[in-house]
Symmetry: C2
Subunit: 200 residues, 2 copies
């Protein structure tokens, strides 16, 4: 049984997608060991508890980035977490955390990286006028939205789209893609060549 | 009848794709008025003449960028060209040319822009480890591989791909996409909002 830890800051919609996938065995032989939010107000905390998933708030305020990350890591290790999934976690991780969990932290981003890193990726893509955007699950390294890509999904921009309709379609793809990527990572059926993640 | 001018520097495979599309009326009511190469060695010159398409070499050496572009524009205007298509044209255009042909110069690039501008876009994408890349037809502005996007096509990167197999698949998509984009531009059935090209 592999144990997932999920870090959130908000509503945790991708957390719930992962929880659904675990329950339905689309992520086989896994359980969600812990949800951590850095924000006491995160709606995802109550949603996790509603599923009987252990969930804690660790407030980052008043601590250095590494101090906070050490507190998070202590919780993750107490729960025996194998893979850390970021799900709308609005904080950069410290180099200490990245090194401690090398190739064991994964993130989802609402664009086809390397296009449109950073905030408001859907609006960035819309305003740029791309005909296709999507979402990316990637391993986390020390650069923002940069590590090796595990999986991507493509979403077409339609002539009558707004940022809102486009964002909603991307989010639906995120909820499908993230469980697939986590299942791949837990299966071990991939190799990393340079920064290419190649399925085996 | 709309008149296309095509600028090349090499074999002109996208030029031939445009010529095929004109012949087969996939680009309706158009003809290729002129092919210009800046390189006397461009294989595309002979291929154009083999199709009875007027083709001239205008050597850029010994001239400033704008001097060369003025010579090119003189040829294009002599032939009454409405739309200028870059097809493997390995030179940056001068601001003078860009302004003179604003929204009337189009380029094709072998990636999903804005990802991987510049040279060797297919290899850039492969080495980055993206799961999807493709090609982009865009209007040309003063920044490299930057203007408003007319059309894009997606190409999946397969686990057993090499840069060569991936590049070949992208090129096949380019040969389909470029005629579609030129047909759209000539039809006038689009509007430009900011930098979004929206089909009507």
């Amino acid at each position: 049984m592999k144990r997932l830890g999920i870090l959130i800051s908000g509503r945790g919609s991708n957390m719930m997608a992962l929880a659904d996938a675990v329950r339905e065995r689309r992520i086989p032989q896994a359980e969600i060991a812990l949800v951590v939010s850095n924000a006491a107000t995160a709606a995802g905390i109550e949603r996790a508890r509603g599923r009987s998933i252990p969930a804690v708030v660790l407030d980052h305020r008043g601590k250095t980035r590494e101090e906070h990350d050490r507190a998070v890591a202590a919780e993750l290790e107490r729960c025996g977490v194998d893979l850390v999934c970021l799900a709308g976690y609005m904080r950069l991780l410290s180099p200490w955390f990245i090194r401690r969990y090398e190739h064991r932290v994964v993130n989802i981003h609402p664009s086809l990286l390397p296009a449109f890193p950073g905030l408001d990726a859907q609006k960035q893509a819309f305003d740029y006028g791309v005909k296709f955007t999507g979402c990316t699950v990637h391993l986390v390294d020390e650069e923002l939205d940069h590590g090796p890509i595990v999986k991507q999904a493509v979403v077409a921009v339609e002539p009558d789209d707004s940022v809102e309709t486009l964002s909603a379609r991307i989010l639906r793809e995120e909820h499908k893609l993230y469980p697939q990527a986590v299942a791949l990572l837990l299966s071990g059926r991939y190799r990393i060549e340079g920064r290419r993640v190649v399925e085996m």
